[in-house]
């Protein structure tokens, strides 16, 4: 079993998977609490333009993706803040623009191809270099630090924005902070599961976790555990069976959700039976 640890490629991939498994559900818990489960998808679409821009200009795609993803996240947050009317349509326009822009720019660049595009859309964890690992490590640490430092305030914000305002919290700053953190997470997770499946890692472990928990803190902790099991487990599976790691990771997470749903339903039912006895 431990033979997979002997390959440097696999070592790097596993570390990346571990970091992403921790960071994505941590941000995801706040995003789901705020009922913005699809925010990660939106940012992922926009980030594709960033990746393509990197190829076109000869800069590292991860860096351009970070910049464009942050700009996209801020734009999404501003649209959301402005009001409900037409907000979802405006977001949809942004998503399509992101995908189309990415495909167009990749086509214009000399060193980009459909294959490189695919590797960003669906992940290419086996091609993670040591330098990538440093970037992923720093970004993950940043994401986890945001959750640790601002978690208490973000909890109030994601519960009720008006109460946050009436408590004197910097609502605008915190809203942008969570959007930017989500953008960073998308870029971190992009190498592991790909832009199209990024959001799954932010949402599915949280959805699985809340089947079994009663509180926010425990949901957050369990979601991070689920995330690590899914990313590390899914990746290890692809060492033995030749399938795309991103797909294996997301399907494992979904299987975890189905299991948690079953267990949670069973536990709740027996609890109700106890209390009515």
């Amino acid at each position: 079993m431990l033979e997979l640890l002997q390959f440097p490629i696999m070592q790097r991939a596993l570390i990346a998977a571990l970091l992403v498994g921790l960071a994505a559900p941590a941000v995801g818990t706040f995003i789901v609490q705020r009922r913005l489960a699809l925010l990660g998808d939106g940012i992922g679409h926009v980030a594709l333009t960033g990746v393509a821009l990197g190829f076109l200009t000869g800069t590292a795609p991860v860096l351009t993706a970070v910049v464009v993803a942050i700009l996209g996240a801020v734009a999404i947050e501003l649209v959301r803040e402005r009001g409900r009317t037409g907000g979802d349509v405006a977001l949809a326009l942004l998503f399509y623009g992101g995908i189309a822009g990415g495909v167009l720019l990749i086509g214009l660049s000399d060193n980009g191809s459909n294959a490189t595009l695919m590797s960003y859309l669906f992940g290419s964890i086996s091609s993670v270099t040591t330098q990538d690992l440093w970037i992923i490590g720093a970004l993950s640490a940043g994401v986890l630090a945001v959750v640790a430092i601002f978690g208490r305030e973000l909890f109030v914000l994601c519960q009720d924005e008006e109460v946050a305002k009436a408590s004197g919290l910097p609502v605008r700053f915190l809203s942008l902070l969570i959007a930017v953190t989500a953008a960073l997470t998308v870029v971190v997770a992009m190498r592991v599961v790909g832009l199209l499946l990024v959001s799954a890692l932010m949402v599915v472990p949280v959805a699985a976790s809340q089947q079994l928990t009663r509180g926010f803190r425990t949901t957050l902790a369990l979601a991070m555990a689920f995330g690590v099991v899914a990313t590390v487990g899914g990746l290890s599976y692809t060492f033995y069976v030749n399938v795309a790691p991103g797909a294996a990771i997301v399907l494992l997470a979904l299987a975890g959700f189905a299991l948690a749903l079953g267990v949670g339903t069973f536990v709740r039912r027996s609890r109700t039976r106890e209390s009515t006895r």
Partner: protein, 267 residues
Amino acid sequence: MSQQTVFAMTGGQVSLEGRPVLRGVDLSIGSGEVVAVLGTNGSGKSTLVRAMLGLIPLSGGRTELYGVPPAKFRDWRRIGYVPQRLSVGGGVPSTIREVVASGRIARQRRLRPTSAADREAVARALVTVGLADRAGDPVHALSGGQQQRVLIARALAGEPDTFVMDEPTAGVDSASQLHLAETLATLVREGRTVLLVAHELGPMEPLVTRAIVLRDGRVVHDGVPPQPVGVHALPGHEHVHPHAVSPECGPLTWEPGPPASKEVPGA
């Protein structure tokens, strides 16, 4: 107690999506007052209190919190806001204790762990609303009335001087309404300022010292409630009298019993 002005609004106007909701409201509320904002649906009650907190921008006039415009107000620990609906639902479960503890946020600093004072205040708030034994339960499993108590406990946990409650009795069963009236009586005894929005007062009626009636975004009555407080303020005291301040009554149909303590500006 020296009468400090907590809320002061002059010529307050609010438009929501181009529709005028408040059409020039002048209002001043001093510390220690227990004020009920009454009116029918759509009369602008909620909008008024949310505008006074700076949650909705004014399209005209000005409003102040403790003498400062809301945008420049920094002393938010003095305010405890109980919103109308329970948005605690969120997408993720939270325990009662977690929600109540979040009411301490205005008193906490970043990177400082939860203090013993925080924990004691949360425990006291839970006892006050009668949910201490259920602190670990998820909020979404509670009834509407119990969820309302959680929101009130969250405001209590912050130990503010002034409570702003938006429809605390809406959709609440009569047992929880009585409980709410008892909690309110405690706050009144402690000399806190209370501003509450209500469709009907129910068991809270004897505690209210001043009623403001809104109609179509204007104050149509501002003064003492129809009956003096005194013995009526005692919890559990039941009395029957004609409801002189019904949402329908205006300045012409309303006949004051005791002399009004406040002038009615703009009415």
